[in-house]
């Protein structure tokens, strides 16, 4: 029911630009799966309730299927969450 905290491998370039590359999460069978982020469609800064975050809309490959997900990086707590779609 909530945004789900997830493990992420990301790269930071010399200008401080952040790019998530892989995410890892538990699937329905309780096995840890790693997915490569194929493409970042767009990203934007958010500041809801004064809490800064970066939102990344990206594509991952699940089997044969390309899936769009939203990842959020909380700048203060350094946490990544998988945004729950309503």
């Amino acid at each position: 029911m909530y945004h789900m905290p997830v493990d992420v491998i990301a790269t930071f370039n010399v200008q401080g630009r952040i790019k998530p590359n892989y995410i890892r999460l538990e699937d329905e069978e309780h096995i840890l799966r790693t997915y490569k982020i194929e493409k970042i469609l767009y990203s934007r800064e958010e500041n809801y309730a004064g809490i800064s975050a970066l939102l990344f809309c990206c594509n991952i490959l699940r089997g044969e299927c390309m899936q769009m997900i939203n990842l959020k990086y909380h700048i203060k707590t350094h946490q990544w969450v998988l945004v729950k779609e309503n």
């Binding site: 029911m1 809801y48 309730a49 004064g50 809490i51």
Partner: protein
């Protein structure tokens, strides 16, 4: 050029902020603003009042300040969430930061309200209503909560305007609109008119702000003295105060605590007073000021309020000294009735570098105590408030620094979701 003042007020601030956090940061699907909900204290610890409520909760007749049990009676399905003051701080800061982008003169009036002096900004942001709508929408888009903006030529009228119809609206109340928009309102809606004044005004046959504005000033002076002149000016839309960027220095420092049990033991009450003195004096020392007047306030288990105060020979901010005075005041005032709430309030604040006047009757070693206090403050600064405490608080149910916001009400814990 006429002055142009905006008053910006967050709609049900604590509830809105709580809702935005749950919706956008935690990812909850339910929006607290759309269901009967309220932010309230902790019933178990008897801090049971409603601090903010949603619009649907308001429709059930729930008012801010109601006890939680009263609110639950009015609306059994009311969703109650505990307060988180650290979150409100973050929201408030982000809110003020946006306002400061539009005007160099911003006065933070409270955690969720501010005045902006927008005089002369017409060439930058367009006319007043356009500019206000732009600011209002930007706050909603970026921070996720709604505000009301009142526009006028002085602070009082702007504040009255922001209170008209909520939420998420801009209203004007220019001097030429006073008669039409403000005079028809009941007199208790006027800023500065509280419950007691309302009753006195009703007794004089004054029920609306318009009636107050047209009353002979001499009558008001006779009944209310100087205060009569103020409310008369306000009713006529006159307010000469300016938008003050810097907060005025505190006139007093006080803390109080509602105790989880009724206190009927003198020793226990004095320990509570010590924990309050500790908090108040830490704040005095942090601002490098000293207090000359100490007051003790108490509320009995039957909600009877009493207070008693004394002027000291010399100003102080030493915990032991304030505690000693508080205990004396307590002894003179208390008749043994069980107590639910105790408070210490200090006033007549003087700057801390004023020299201490020695006198013959100071028998205690205050200099050593004040050095000790400073050392304790530094330890707490570095290692946290709980890193050092007086041994008397060991194995007691009383927190060693009472009053203010307890640590558990500051941060949001994940398990506190509503779903």
């Amino acid at each position: 050029m006429d002055n142009l003042i905006f008053h910006i007020d967050v709609n049900s601030a604590f509830l809105s902020w709580e809702a935005v956090y749950r919706r956008h940061i935690l990812g909850e699907t339910t929006d607290l603003r759309e269901i009967p909900s309220a932010v309230g204290g902790d019933i178990k610890k008897r801090h049971g009042i409603i601090l903010a409520k949603s619009a649907p909760a308001k429709r059930y007749g729930i008012r801010t300040g109601d006890t939680i049990s009263d609110a639950k009676n009015l609306c059994p399905q009311l969703v109650l969430v505990p307060p988180h003051y650290d979150l409100y701080d973050t929201c408030s800061k982000a809110f003020m930061e946006i306002l400061r982008e539009y005007s160099s003169r911003v006065e933070q009036y409270s955690v969720d309200e501010a005045f902006c002096d927008m005089t002369g900004t017409i060439s930058i942001y367009g006319s007043a209503v356009v500019a206000a709508n732009m600011i209002k929408d930007r706050i909603y888009n970026e921070l996720g909560f709604t505000v009301n903006i009142g526009i006028s030529t002085n602070k009082l009228l702007a504040k009255m305007a922001s209170d008209f119809k909520k939420p998420n609206l801009v209203h004007t109340l220019f001097p030429e609109e006073i008669e039409m928009k403000m005079w028809k309102l009941p007199v208790e809606e006027l800023f500065y008119v509280g419950h007691a004044t309302k009753r006195k005004l009703h007794a004089l046959g004054i029920h609306t702000i318009g009636e107050l504005a047209k009353t002979d000033l001499n009558i008001l002076r006779a009944h209310f003295k100087k205060y009569g002149e103020i409310i008369y000016a306000f009713a006529n839309g006159i307010d000469l105060s300016v938008v003050a960027e810097e907060a005025a220095p505190n006139k007093g420092y006080g803390n109080s605590t509602t105790i989880a049990f009724d206190v009927d033991d003198e020793q226990v009450a004095k320990i509570v007073l010590l924990s309050l003195a500790e908090t108040v004096c830490t704040r005095l020392r942090a601002d490098s000021v000293m207090a000359t007047v100490v007051a003790v306030r108490m509320v009995t288990h039957e909600f009877h309020h009493t207070s008693h105060q004394r002027t000291l020979l010399t100003a102080t901010n030493t915990t032991n000294e304030i505690h000693k005075v508080a205990c004396k005041l307590f002894d003179e005032m208390w008749d043994g009735t069980p107590l639910r709430k105790l408070g210490i309030h200090t006033s007549k604040i003087v700057s801390g570098d004023s020299l201490r006047q020695m006198n013959l009757f100071d028998m205690d070693r205050y200099e050593k105590f004040s050095k000790l206090d400073l050392a304790v403050d530094r330890i707490r600064d570095r290692y946290g408030v709980d890193s050092i405490m007086r041994a008397i608080f060991l194995n007691k149910h009383i927190y060693h620094m009472s009053g203010g916001i307890p640590p558990e009400k500051r941060k949001v814990k994940n398990k506190e979701g509503i779903i």
